[in-house]
């Protein structure tokens, strides 16, 4: 069967009943799972996975992929309205989305998030479908040195993030890397910093750390105020869905660039939507006009466009290594891999030959699911801006409860409760003292990827760092890494001179 015939067959499968119905159900469940802090795509899909057993394989897999797609979008809802990223992939959305809510522009922000998610997701998926043969070759060429360099580039972005106090930004990032070393050492199975506690052997869960650093820290900050999340002086109904859509469409470069960053980073195992989210945001900040009003981090709509286009753009990218090689790039795609095996499908070339119609039905469900997201997002979610007017005395306990329940549900462990409480308090103090919480988060997320691939690369090369320069893709990544580090430092020097 040719790829075109498989694609046509995939469309007809997807549009048949009940497959189409399961796609809609999946997107709606995904949006709900994504919007609930601590649940997210991975856990949401894990809950639904056993429920797909009675379904036929196409319906089951379309349901899982649709939950994934919906959750990627859903994470932005709580990120924008209550500064609590529902998923790691929406963490950077809080940076400009939440300030927009506080300015009474929650309606605009959610409309931007919806349209950027839909456009970014569609760009990512359509490109994936077109470039599938080439991308497979590139991904096959990635080994430990390349994986390490991708993580190193992510860490180098701290230099961009820590625009003011560079030293505190770097300290925050290093602290994040150190926190990520808690638990069993990668490849060695030796416990580190566990104090003899079995529960610490799995390490500090980064989602729990995220919830603590964003949700709890923000609730402690908000407790000093009365009224709602939006300032009392602003009218939360004054925002406009149309303006939000217009804003998104008026930034085609940001949209396309972010969608591709999402797609590429998402395709790299270990990269995922969280890394894509930050990389895309940092790149947008780096390349933008510095005189923007409002500045980035204070409610700039371009920031929301960039982050939301990238996290949905990463869906197409992350599905590729999962389907082609059985290498999941994230928890969500790991569950999808489980779904494939559960339904008797083995990842590999067969999914692009004999089972190509099912593969296309799965991939196209993201595209068609985007229409559901567009409808639900614009018709329902934008109305949720009224939440920003609810008094903080009522918002705070509900968010704290959701954060605690979400954190506990990650592993059913009390360690997560301790983690979000400790991270909440540390995050609050860090924010008050000009430390970059985002740099800390980047360190926690990228630490394990960086360590594992650095050690593996050095083992391959007998301890020689030359391995990073002798491989073409790694060399390109090294050059990008150096440029990211040097350019802002040189810019600062030229300003001070």
């Amino acid at each position: 069967m040719s790829q075109l015939a498989a694609a046509v067959s995939g469309v007809s499968i997807l549009l048949s009943w009940p497959v189409f119905g399961w796609m809609i159900v999946g997107v709606l469940l995904g949006i709900l799972a994504g919007a609930l802090p601590g649940i997210g795509a991975g856990l949401g899909m894990a809950i639904i996975l056993p429920l797909t057993l009675p379904l036929d394989s196409v319906s089951g897999l379309v349901l899982l992929v649709s939950v994934y797609s919906g959750a990627m979008y859903g994470g932005s809802i709580s990120a924008i309205l209550i500064n609590t990223p529902g998923t790691g992939g929406s963490a950077a959305t809080t940076l400009d989305g939440y300030p927009m809510s506080r300015e009474g522009l929650a309606k605009n922000a959610t409309a931007i998030s919806t349209t950027a998610s839909v456009i970014g997701g569609s760009i990512g998926l359509l490109t994936l479908l077109l470039l599938l043969p080439l991308l497979v070759e590139i991904i096959l060429a990635f080994q430990s040195p390349e994986y390490f360099m991708v993580a190193a580039i992510g860490l180098a972005l701290i230099v961009i993030i820590a625009k003011g106090s560079l030293l505190k930004g770097l300290l925050s990032g290093a602290l994040g890397l150190l926190i990520a070393t808690v638990g069993i050492a990668p490849m060695q199975f030796e416990p580190r910093y566990t104090f003899g506690l079995f529960v610490l052997q799995d390490g500090i869960n980064y989602i729990a750390a995220l919830i603590g650093l964003f949700a709890i820290a923000e609730m402690i900050t908000l407790s000093k105020e009365s009224g709602g999340i939006a300032k009392t002086s602003v009218d939360v109904t004054s925002g406009s869905i149309r303006d939000g859509i217009r804003t998104t469409i008026s930034k085609p470069v940001t949209l396309i660039k972010s969608a591709y960053i999402g797609m590429i980073v998402g395709a790299i195992p270990g990269g995922g939507s969280t890394v894509a989210n930050f990389v895309s945001y940092s790149e947008t900040v780096r390349s933008a006009d510095k005189t923007q009003n409002p500045p980035f981090g204070e409610g700039n709509p371009t920031g929301v466009v960039a982050t939301e286009a990238s996290n949905n753009g990463s869906i197409g990218g992350s599905l590729l290594p999962t389907i082609a090689f059985g290498i999941p790039g994230s928890a969500a795609t790991a569950v999808l891999l489980g779904g494939l095996l559960l339904h008797g499908l083995r990842p590999g070339p067969e999914l692009f030959t004999s089972e190509a119609a099912i593969t296309y039905a799965m991939l196209l469900s993201v595209l068609f699911g985007n229409l559901v997201i567009l409808f639900v997002g614009l018709a329902v979610v934008t109305r949720a801006s009224i939440l920003t007017r609810i008094p903080t005395q009522l918002i705070i306990p509900v968010v704290v409860v959701l954060a605690m329940l979400g954190a506990f549900s990650l592993r059913g462990s009390w360690l997560e409760i301790v983690t979000i409480t400790a991270m909440g308090l540390i995050g609050y103090l860090m924010i008050r003292n000009d430390y970059s919480v985002i740099a800390l988060v980047l360190g926690i997320i990228l630490g394990p990827i960086a360590e594992e691939n650095l050690i593996r690369s050095l083992q391959i090369s007998d301890g020689s760092f030359v391995v990073f320069l002798t491989r073409p893709i790694s060399l390109v990544l090294v050059i990008i890494f150096i440029l990211i580090l040097l350019v802002p430092v040189l810019q600062r020097q030229s300003k001070t001179m």
Binding site: G164, S165, S223, E225, S409, R432, N433, S436, T496
Partner: protein, 184 residues
């Protein structure tokens, strides 16, 4: 007692004091982590030694910021980070000529909220998240001046959410340390 409270308030409001406490804590964590990592071999200890070493050096520089030459000092004190500018205080984005009566510089509500969060976590550990949730919500909302009727409604709502989590995710939210000790 009031003198103690006044001293406590003064110390907490001293940003530089807080900064020293925080960087001192990071320094101590870095030193401990580095010393621990010296006991491990290449594959296990290299990365922790590297990251802990960076934490020790950078936190020491922040601690000694008052003694740094001016050419280096700006690396520590150079303005605000672009994100912290928004995040560091709820007051930050409200001082642009817009009068907003909600804002207060009093730190007490933040400290009390932090204590409530810690108390909620501790109570949940003792009696289970399911039972601790409505108690926390009632205590917090009543402390913040919410009417009984609203407080009880909100507590009921969050209790239902907790039941939803326990049922759908099959989580043991009803059991805590006490129930385990008593074998209930």
């Amino acid at each position: 007692m009031s003198i103690l409270h006044s001293v406590y308030q003064t110390l907490l409001n001293l940003k530089s004091f807080e900064d020293y406490i925080l960087s001192g804590m990071f320094f101590a964590i870095g030193c401990y982590a580095y010393l621990q990592a010296t006991n491990w071999g290449f594959a296990v200890g290299t990365w922790p030694r590297l990251t802990a070493g960076i934490v020790v050096v950078l936190s020491a520089v922040v601690l000694l910021q008052g003694y740094l030459p001016s050419s280096l000092k700006h690396l520590v004190t150079d303005g605000e980070t672009m994100f912290s500018k928004r995040q560091k205080d709820a007051t930050a984005i409200q001082n642009e000529g817009v009068e907003d009566t909600r804002t207060t510089t009093d730190i007490s509500p933040a400290v009390t909220t932090a204590l409530f969060v810690i108390g909620y976590g501790a109570l949940a550990f003792l009696i289970g998240l399911l039972w601790a949730t409505p108690l926390f919500v009632i205590a917090y909302t009543r402390w913040s001046g919410v009417r009984w009727k609203v407080a009880l409604t909100l507590a009921g709502g969050t209790f239902l959410i907790a039941i939803g989590f326990a049922t759908i995710l099959n989580l043991p939210l009803e059991s805590g340390w006490i129930s385990e000790v008593l074998g209930i």
